[in-house]
Point group: C2
Chain length 689, copies 2
């Protein structure tokens, strides 16, 4: 029997579990009319955005598919297969995002309603909503991979066709993360800022026309965007390992390519089962408080990780793969955990770095900024050193193939990791709905408590997303190197082309140009958020001025107008950085040649890694420093320290939720585009080469 | 005749010209008693700092010299020669800094006095002070190099001994830039901030005890620090070319190593003559206004550059060097100019980027920060692309040697470039003295005008410093690669060791770890400025509280206390990042081996380049956006926009004047330490290698 049937079946089991959780949620009461109305408005806005975003994406997907088809005409049969694989990858990612968001926007109001019964009831609805997203992403990912495998694995061009599946997923992910990020932070900053420009319009108030757009943003950015990001990482880890199979055979890790293909897919299959078990473990007594759920989430993650490691060990043994590869896998798993913990240390107000930012806020805005940046920059060290150690271990035990397996190991328990992450925005929305619906303060207190657990899991997941993106991008870069002939395996040794020497003009120039990419990408993304926020400020002020009765609360704000403005702005603004990301590797490869492109990818990886950590962690620390002050420390809300901390938070928001996370996808997308370009570049020296 | 006599003589000619300018300055009247008193206080503070800084530096220099001597014992004769060369390099740099600062602190008050006569008179004193610094740096640099050449060039270990000279200069430069940067920005931020914390203490007021420390900082940071930075670049460009001489012979650029040694030294000699001619050209009519001087400075720079190019062409022809190398040189010269202009575009309020930051300030602090960062990040593109093009050209026409010659070309006119730069802090000081001495508003207006020309030249020089540091660090990295045997020349072709493949674990891990260095370095430097500023705030408030009569202006502030605090804090805080910079390449080389170290240097170069540009240009743009608003735009001084802009400026200050410029030196120092380590690493595989 072809062992990939096991992967397919595991994927289906994951989907059944997701369906079970979804059914549970839909059976819960929807709450009062007001809650239903608000939840409905959010849902409507989110779906309106998704419809338009998907329309834009589908157009771009079709254009790229046609280009792929034409480029592939040179090789008989290749073109249409790559196109099909690419379109299928895009559809899978779009589908996973749609299902996840559909459930999250049906869960927010139900969570608010459930909290009115008991905190525990609210927790369960919110977490199960996250679990639907988590399990849907891994199930669709693995089922899709299995289908592509069955369709094409007997084709001689299999190793060229399958990366196209990842490229489809990557393109969708970039749009989802970047478009969603610009939407959510534009709406957030806009509806916050308006209160400062036009006195008397409070945040989270039904009279603020931007407020529904803000809640919509949580769904399209933090649920749909994050899901697409990690969907991409998930499938790419598998694909990188598959494309490196020849090398794994060459250096004697496995006896044949078929086994090297099985390994990642079976590790992922084991991970899904582990994630399902972990998700069902999240149960607490009826009277449990927040600390108990926090522990329950943590336990679920740990149990899944340990189970996944055990399953993987068994799979490696049964397949007769060199046992060393288990260490590579374990290195990946452990690094994911370390980076998550480090992120938490540098961004939580429970620890010194964020406390110091809060103290700097008592001096002023400038001091807050300087200290926050220092924290963000410094926070790189655990992530970078842990990743470096993992790479050394993975290489030692499995060469290039080991790096891809380390990434697969890290991502094997994605089902449960993503569940913990996607729980956050649902809890956040539930709190917003409680305020808007004018529910009593004690309910709002409970939703705040739910939200605070969500913030920790969100921070951890962000670190995890960066680490997995880096490991994956590296796996793909190595796949590119192998595909384009920069390295060859001769007599069990990996031999590099001397032209790939680090100290040659094309490689050095490539590295330097690669370093430029993340900087320009971040600049464009940050500017986009500013532009979108400016439009929202204008619109909210216009409604405040023109709608009679809005000020007094007797007339309603036109929420959909703001959603509409954010949608248009986000879709427009995401185009320039997206196109740049797709075009840049093509331009570098064609003009400077394949060696320069190798340097380009490594250069952007190094800078992107450091920048993504810096932006995420500085942003997270500023956010929590502000909350720390709002909790009554150092003068509390309204003090000068609070004002300074707000500046930090406003600066950090587009960094941590739009620019930073999109960098993850930029790195992966550039690598996978290069891999796809490999057949063209192999025998082409470059215009200046 | 040994042609290096020409270099020695040119260096002496430069020194004579510097002496002529110094004599001119010292003959100018010192001004009123009050001016003399203030200038004296600045001078005293600066000298007190320099004494202590030099004491610390000398201790570190001796320790490193002893280590070098011991490491060199393995090779007969090598140890003591490397130590001597190292100490000599350190002494030359210390001497150049001391002379420059001595003159600048004697010129500030004289400039104030001269301005009382005429604007033109003030301009002349300030520029000639800068010219003393510029010409002293290049003269001592070239004379020192010539002496080292005569002493050791017949020694078989010459190519190992001479980099030690650069290492000495580099170590001193790091202390000068970093210590000076922490001093100046700590004092500046501290004396600004105090007014916000304790109402009623204005900036630039004699009752603010931190104000003299602020002026002292301009001298120790912007004169001494910048001078040491560029002194290092200057000698390193020459040394990189010399150490790459074997390669130049191998690929047929020159017929023998001797010629390859002559070339950079003679290009530098021609550059000094060109700079002297350029400096004497800075003359304007008695009634000239600011625009005329701005033009005069620009003309001087251009004439020097063109003369230097012509001299270089003649030298290349006469030496019988492959004429292609001239294009490498020209590429370096032109890139220096392009980057200077780009820096000016992105940081001057005459252009769109800075104006947009000012407009964002009308929305609030957060918007100012986001827009400023976007500008800083985006500003990388012209610098990075110009450098990439220059590297391609330099490689094409001269291989590794071409890169070093491009750097030498870029730096050949340093005498006049640095003169224009060092003019800035003198003008700045002169303005401060005018205010403190209570001179009439029209005088302050004239000094402000002087200052504004200085700001432009300072911005241009900063871009130039980064570009030259990157080219130089690259030259040194290539020297390291050659010295350690990563590349070999066989039959006219440069052949790389396959282990140096970009896609190998040590190289990739090296690149990623290298990327970490600038981030951590910046974090430490920024935090240091914050710590120092905090101490100043405390001290100024203490004096305000405890000295009776200070508030009313009848008692004097104890300026020297603040100078003392800054001195101690700067010297203490600079140690951690400095030691990290020296130790890191040693640790990476010893643990991970020579290939990883190659990757490490390239990774830190790429990230450092992008970060240095970002920090410098974001900082410069924020500064000028604030000044633009203070000039009466968008609400003017005291408006909400101004408050937001002040936050940007306070954040940008430590970035652009402490952390950013110190990165230049970090990159060069790590490269030259690695080069010095080459003999040890050549046959050592690394503990994990």
């Amino acid at each position: 029997m072809d062992l990939v049937w096991i992967s397919l079946i595991s994927g289906i089991i994951g989907a059944i579990a997701a369906g079970y959780f979804a059914r549970y949620i839909l059976r819960q009461p929807e709450g009062t009319e007001r809650i239903k109305e608000l939840s409905g408005a959010i849902r409507e806005g989110a779906m309106a955005f998704i419809r338009r975003e998907y329309r834009t994406e589908i157009i771009v997907v079709i254009i790229v598919a046609v280009i792929l088809g034409i480029l592939g005409l040179a090789t008989p049969d290749l073109g249409w297969k790559a196109s099909v694989s690419f379109i299928f990858g895009a559809i899978c990612s779009l589908g996973a995002g749609l299902i996840g968001m559909n459930v999250s926007t049906r869960s927010n109001g139900r969570t608010t309603a459930a909290v009115q019964k008991s905190l525990n009831q609210g927790l369960r609805v919110a977490f199960r909503s996250g679990a639907v997203m988590g399990l849907t992403v891994v199930s669709i990912g693995l089922v899709g991979l299995s289908i592509i495998y069955f369709a094409f694995h007997n084709d001689p061009n299999f190793l060229v066709t399958i990366p196209a599946y990842a490229t489809g997923a990557s393109l969708v992910a970039l749009f989802a993360r970047l478009g969603g990020g610009i939407f959510t932070k534009g709406a957030d900053a806009g509806s916050d800022l308006v209160g400062k420009v036009e006195a008397g319009i409070p945040e989270d108030d039904p009279r603020n026309a931007g407020v529904i757009a803000d809640f919509v943003g949580d769904n399209v950015g933090d649920v749909c965007g994050v899901g697409a990001d990690l969907f991409e990482s998930y499938v790419e880890a598998n694909i990188a390992a598959i494309t490196l199979s020849g090398l794994a055979v060459g250096i004697g890790i496995v006896t044949n390519a078929q086994t090297a293909w099985y390994l990642p897919l079976l590790i992922s299959a084991g991970g899904i089962i582990a994630s399902v078990i972990g998700s069902f473990m999240v149960r607490v007594g009826e009277k449990a408080e927040i600390a108990a759920l926090s522990r329950a989430l943590r336990n679920a993650t740990w149990v899944s990780a340990i189970l996944s490691a055990v399953f993987s060990f068994i799979i490696i043994s049964l397949l007769g793969v060199n046992l060393g590869i288990f260490w590579a896998l374990l290195a990946g798993l452990i690094v994911g955990v370390i980076i998550g913990e480090a992120t938490n240390y540098y961004t939580s107000a429970d620890f010194k770095p964020t406390r110091e930012i809060a103290e700097a806020a008592t001096i002023g805005g400038g001091a807050t900024m300087v200290r926050g940046f220092a924290v963000g920059m410094l926070s790189n060290w655990p992530a970078v050193i842990a990743t470096a150690v993992a790479i050394i271990i993975a290489f030692k035990f499995g060469g290039f193939y080991g790096v891809a397996i380390a990434a697969a190991g890290m991502l094997s328990t994605l089902g449960v990791t993503l569940a913990c992450d996607s729980y956050g925005p649902v809890a956040d929305n539930a709190g917003g709905i409680a305020t808007m619906a004018g529910l009593p303060a004690e309910i709002r207190k409970k939703t705040d408590a739910l939200d605070s657990v969500g913030n920790t899991t969100k921070a951890t997941a962000k670190g995890f997303a960066i680490a997995s993106a880096v490991m994956n991008a590296l796996g793909l870069i190595l796949s590119y190197g192998l595909a384009v002939g920069l390295v060859k395996v001769t007599q069990g040794q990996i031999m590099a082309a001397p032209e790939l020497s680090l100290l040659s003009a094309p490689v050095i120039v490539g590295v330097i140009l690669g370093a430029l990419m993340p900087a320009v990408f971040v600049a464009l993304a940050m500017k986009s958020v500013g532009v979108t926020a400016g439009l929202i400020v204008e619109e909210v002020r216009r409604q405040w001025r023109e709608i009679t009765g809005l000020r007094e609360g007797t007339a309603k704000a036109q929420y959909s107008k703001c959603v509409d403005i954010c949608t248009k702005a986000a879709l427009k603004e995401m185009l320039a950085p997206s196109i740049m990301t797709i075009i840049a590797p093509v331009v570098v490869g064609v003009i400077l040649g394949k060696y320069a492109l190798g340097g380009f990818l490594v250069g952007s990886l190094a800078v992107g890694f450091v920048l993504a950590n810096t932006l995420n962690n500085a942003g997270g620390a500023w956010d929590n420093a502000k909350k720390y002050i709002e909790d009554g420390n150092l003068g509390g809300k309204g003090s000068n320290a609070h004002k300074a901390a707000v500046v930090g938070d406003t600066t950090g928001d587009p960094m941590k939720d739009a620019a930073g996370p999109s960098l993850n996808i930029m790195l992966k997308l550039m690598a996978v585009v290069s891999l796809l370009l490999a057949p063209v570049l192999t025998n082409f020296p470059g215009l200046l080469g």
